[in-house]
Symmetry: C2
Subunit: 153 residues, 2 copies
């Protein structure tokens, strides 16, 4: 396993911790962390139900926090880790924030916009493209979602 | 001109007023209003530079306000009016919020996701589709953007 993959797994475990927090709150368990220079600058988990905010997906929560820390909307040189493939809204937000690299866990065949249904992150017609690494801890990231929906039935 | 178009023009004028506020603040002039039962429930204009929030496009600002008013993320039966065709992030947010209908002014050939580059609002693979009306006051909505960028050069 190369060094970058070992680093990616380590940060994806942190994103999974955020997903676990969401799960305990009764939110669909998706978690994210944003990393710059190998340290976490922002964390987020899905908060749609508790906040009543349709944009409060894990990625957007983390992006807004990272922008607060940086005091600028342009998040160049940051890597976003998220347990589930981003939806079109979140993929679009990642492009808007000029994030450098996306690492995600499980694919989302129903609404994924980083390769499944479309790929907003690598569309040359848009004004920003980024590197995407998929499938880091995919089984763990998928399992927490499956368990959540199984328990709810 | 049919009755619905007259109503649409009237609300697009309100969205233009929001774009004018953005312009005066030095923000790219895009404005939005959200309407339910023919009255405005939320207004928003682009605030990306002033807030430093990459997600603070007019549509998202208005959607978050409408969700606060409704105290729920699901904005069924609402119509969003925006002066410029939504980008992928905003089109995705409109789908996430389950908005009923989108009316926009000018097309955005560079990043529009309501027909120009893609159509996220009417993608049958996603779990929500909506009615889209384009080109209401398109000239006025485009002119405020052109004037803004001309003045900045």
């Amino acid at each position: 396993m190369d060094k970058q993959t070992i680093i990616d797994i380590s940060f994806m475990r942190e994103a999974l911790k955020e997903a676990e927090v969401a799960s305990k709150l009764g939110e669909v368990p998706v978690g994210a962390v944003i990393v710059v220079d190998n340290s976490i600058i922002a964390r987020g988990h899905n908060l749609r139900e508790l906040t009543g905010d349709p944009t409060a997906h894990a990625e957007i929560v983390a992006i807004r926090k990272a922008a607060e820390v940086r005091k600028h909307w342009r998040l160049t040189d940051m890597t976003l880790y998220v347990t589930l493939e981003p939806c079109p809204m979140c993929a679009g937000a990642i492009v808007q924030a000029r994030i450098d690299r996306l690492v995600f866990g499980a694919y989302d065949p129903k609404s994924g916009a980083a390769g499944s249904l479309m790929n907003i992150l690598q569309d040359k017609r848009l004004n920003h493209q980024l590197e995407v690494t998929a499938g880091i801890l995919a089984d763990d990231c998928g399992k927490i979602l499956k368990d959540f929906f199984k328990d709810r039935r």
